[in-house]
Amino acid sequence: MIWPIASAELLPLFSYLYELLESTGLPQPWLAVVVYTFLAALVFGVLSLLALFLVWWERKIAAHIQQRFGPMRHGWHGWYQTIMDAVKLLQKEDIRVATRDKTVFFWAPVVCFVAAFLAYVTIPFGEGLIVADLNIGILYIMAVTTFTVISLLMAGWGSNNKYALLGGMRSAAQVVSYEVPMVASILVVVLFVGSLSMVDIVQAQAGGIWNWYIFRLPYGPIAFCTYIIAATAEANRTPFDIPEAEQELVAGFNVEYSGMKFAMFFLAEFVNAFTVSAIAVILFFGGWHGALLPSWMWFLGKTFGIVLLLMLFRWTYPRLRVDQLMEFSWKFLVPVTFANIIIAAWFKYAGWYW
């Protein structure tokens, strides 16, 4: 098997690196290790920058919705404000509660951070810009993102704080509940494409805006709406930011975290927001397809569009209560998405698509 490492399958940059290393006579396992490490570092670096950018962008958008300017001091419209914030958080004292569960407290932010980045193994940023086109792509993403909830539970437990524990519990209940409608909305598209691979899903939408699934499938808009609602909840954003509900739980699961550990939760949240938006683009908005501009620009542009939508939600809506949140998922979203799947299956079975 199975490690699909052949220079042709990699990005041009990496196939060059691969050949270079091969010519030096590096034996096989180390060759693969080196190349994959570079690849991981690249994805990590790009995403960290994206997350930093998103933090800044969110602050600017919030500010402009609220009739203020937001960060203005560092560079043009404060563009490197978040970088300075990250530097500050790095230098801050790492305050550790004396009564914490040492191991769990330490590993929670790490798990959260890693889980957030793992999803990017199968997200195609553009034509050919994908680390590994797994044949279970979308399912893989669902699998790795479940670790976020474990990390939140770990944080809640490890802090040994009632507010944190309540936050952790809430997040577990919430994420587990909203995963069902989220997966069910995704299934509608997967059912039509007949493949779980992200690249296949995007390729099936080639050829113009009317081939994007949100327009092409009659049940696509419903699936998109249910997806984006469930995704907002998965990413723990307002109106579903119950786990960290500042006014009720102070800061929920991350109440005891400071310094870089807090920054890891914080960045992971933004990476998650980007992930769910990227999946929405891949499933419903044709992924990297678009005219004239390079494919990665289209992909990023569309994804930022969805992120913008999430931000608008956040800055205009109040927060739901925890029981209303559960009821909304189980009594409304789940039936709707299941009905949508049945409709989609019927369409597929009868061959009504175009």
Binding site: M1, I2, W3, Q28, P29, A32, V33, D101, T103, V104, L134, N135, I136, L139, Y140, M142, A143, V144, T146, F147, V149, I150, L153, M154, G156, W157, N160, L165, G168, M169, A172, A173, V176, S177, E179, V180, V183, L196, V322, D323, M326, E327, W330
Partner: protein, 197 residues
Amino acid sequence: MTLDLVIFLISSVVAVFGATMMITQRNPIASVLFMILSLLAQAVLYIQLGALFMGAVLVIVYAGAILVLFLFVIMLLNLRGRESLGQPSPPISLTVKYALAVLFVLELIMVVKSSFSSDVFADAGNPGVMVMQTDNFGAVNDVAVLLFQRYLYPFELTSILLLVAIVGAVILAQRSRDDDGPVDAASSGESEGKAAE
């Protein structure tokens, strides 16, 4: 030594380590977390076998749903701190335990051995599932065929069993009618496990 082998060694060691730690820990939360670690390593093993789907499902269902539920319940019951060891077992039950352990290990060895020789589970129309690596072993199609065609009725029976369990849990947890309590998180977690099935 190939990369495959390196990864196999690492993940199998981690799996065994996680499993061992799970049963030796006194703190229930640590136990569950080690179990998750072990399951993760097992998922890596599945993926190495090419059964990506199986690996993903293992993670989604077990690590993502069932063990989260475990964590949830343990945290709700607030089982912090260490359980006491209690009374040492009487010698008779200790003997039975060791005998059972030995029996189990023997059984395990037999199964593993036989799975390499490929004739225990194989019959004419049914190539041994544990042995035969088809091209897309463990892929979505194969699993779907097994679940929805060959073993459809057992599969549905299992779902009904789970449904019964859910209904039972809801009835047990339900309070009086007028007290419109919060949505029972435990039962919603279970139905998730069902949905992921």
